[in-house]
Chain length 380, copies 2
């Protein structure tokens, strides 16, 4: 029988195991050290100043942010070196100006001549020089401009000659890695990005256009890459917590996952081979990244309240405030192990999405008890 109540928290609640968090941060910091390239951790996962400080203490320079609200928050906490890695739009330039005027060393992203022109016009209107990074398309995945196209060189020349924008460099995103399955494929993808960044930088410098920033992002390739010279920084975020999707890819073990949702059993249905818990689509997120993969984790993997994985148990369905727990194999649940009121922990399918439903992390210390609460900065 599971211990009825381990934590004095109203459920659902978000937990972080600090020892696992620290180990995850160390692992990627060491990896970046081996590659000889600093990290620019993507704080879209953690959105926490407490975690940002841990990340910045280990082989990292500055943060990657996914919203300007994150930029506001981290600047207020004294972190100035920021890269907003979502393509900028003209209407956001006034907000960027406020950040720059407030002391942020904020770099923004664009991926087209039209965006560059419109954002430079908005920058002139705001009275700033807008620091811009161009996204290049290396693997055809999501976005970016072809670095060998005339459009790209014209864009770089335009920015180089601009009074209200300046070119800080280039970036690429290896999102295609999430469609790959073997370390060899990951290594090949890493190498493709490394070479594209290096060659593009060289082509720009040959034209007299400086390109100090050559930023690469996506977690899995970093783990398998043999070299990343030519990149000035590496962006990754989900490694802070890891999740079931990343474990399925082989990036981590399930036991490395530092983030979980504490929930309570509030329904027991042997006839349906189902437990119901009070963490549903809002508490876990409706993310189904693992759908259709052989490591499909439903909406999360189920552990006891102490964090020990319960073999074969997953959240197979969610409604807004209901999680429907069953076995992945279809084998009967061992119902005598569960009672109404028992706490469980759910390891997330996708950590970034799950964490976003909460205002704070409850931190589990070395002795297994809650040692503190760390706030998150959500919304836009």
């Amino acid at each position: 029988m599971t211990t009825p109540v381990t934590f004095d928290l109203e459920t659902p609640a978000l937990l972080v195991d600090e020892a696992k968090l620290d180990a995850n941060i160390s692992r990627l910091a060491n990896r970046a050290g081996e590659l000889g390239v600093p990290l620019r951790p993507h704080i879209k996962t953690a959105k926490s100043i407490d975690i940002a400080r841990k990340l910045l203490a280990r082989n990292a320079e500055g943060l990657t942010v996914s919203t300007l609200k994150e930029a506001d928050y981290f600047l207020e906490h004294g972190i100035t070196d920021l890269f907003y890695a979502v393509a900028l739009t003209p209407a956001k330039v006034a907000h960027v100006a406020k950040l720059l005027n407030g002391g942020a060393d904020l770099k923004c992203l664009i991926d087209s001549p039209q965006a560059a022109r419109l954002c430079a016009e908005a920058a002139e209107h705001a009275g700033i020089v807008l620091p811009l990074v161009i996204e290049i398309d290396v693997d055809g995945h999501r976005a970016g401009i072809q670095p060998k196209s005339n459009h790209f060189m014209d864009l770089c020349r335009y920015l180089h000659g601009q009074n209200h924008a300046r070119l800080c460099g280039i970036m690429s995103y290896g999102g295609h890695s999430y469609d790959l399955t073997s370390p060899d494929e990951m290594r090949a993808l890493s190498e493709q990005h490394r070479i594209a960044l290096s060659e593009t930088k060289a082509a720009l410098e040959a034209e007299g256009i400086p390109c100090p920033m050559t930023s690469f992002g996506s977690t899995p390739p970093l783990l398998w890459a043999e070299r990343f010279d030519g990149a000035s920084e590496l962006r990754a975020g989900v490694y802070t917590f890891w999740d079931a999707f990343q474990a399925g890819l082989g990036c981590c073990n399930v036991n490395d996952i530092a983030l979980s949702v504490l929930t309570t059993v509030n329904g027991i249905y042997p006839d349906k081979n189902r437990l119901i818990v009070d963490a549903g689509a809002l508490a876990l997120s409706a993310d189904r990244s693992t759908a259709g993969r052989d490591f499909d984790a439903g909406f999360g993997l189920v552990c006891d309240a102490d964090g020990n994985l319960i073999d074969d148990l997953i959240v197979e369905g969610v409604n807004q405030e209901h999680g429907l727990v069953s076995t992945k194999s279809g084998a009967p649940i061992v119902f005598e192990d569960f009672s109404i009121g028992a706490q469980l922990r759910i390891l997330p399918n996708h950590a970034c999405m799950t964490a976003a439903a909460y205002q704070a992390y409850n931190i589990i210390g070395a002795d297994g008890s809650i040692t503190g609460q760390w706030p998150r900065i959500n919304h836009w």
Copy 2:
């Protein structure tokens, strides 16, 4: 070409068209009037006092809530008649006691003898009489106790004899309606629930156990039911806003959808037949309720900034802060209609999930401009 910027809001932002909201509220209020049964609107969709007041002004008595935090919030705003329609656990009884002692007429839900016993013990400890509703299982969908079982009658007798709990009645949830496709099937399901509630109430009263509350919930059956006598109240929530899933079921027209996410085009990719917008998995939610249905709406339907549907355009994919827009048919996007910085509106796949990502609604008045902001109560 879309008008570049219609609203002076940083995107993504949540919009509510007040005229559509009012029409939706009227429609269900009138429907409840026809059925002769009051509504107990499920405020898990809107989580807003401004919208609660509109709902309560029209053929409704009290609210259904999905979290105790909602109960706290609405009680603070003077709304006392509340039903917490997620199965209660013993550790939450102390919070319920606080609400009851604070003046709430709060009913809670259980679905098993074990839950009743443990919650009654916790109620004794808290020094309260816990008002309980039993969920009965009518259609085998999610939860509830078989109303014709000995377990059920034993449970009712137990509660009837309890000093620290009292039986307020029974409820059922017609979630199975979401698997049905025709009005005839919906009518049959409604009738199944109506009869089960009526017969169960009669069986209890025949034993001298009062059963004043017989509550039915699920939106689609209410629209098609021919009668709901025997129910003391009807629970529904999503009709406040409607969404693409409900439109696909035939519960509303796409033009009735009152909720949308304002977003900005930040990437234009003719080679991929793709627009990128700044509303991704967090801004729209990762909900894919319509997946596999012939009315699959991806992660949302796309409108211009004034709310006019753009035929065939859907959000086909999302990353955390990226929405990938393409055509459902595969036909080429009319790219000359879109520029970087243009605002669009996305109609949600599932309104409850999308709204939950925001702290407030931006209200669009009759002239199409923003007339105010209404806060939401999120989290737990």
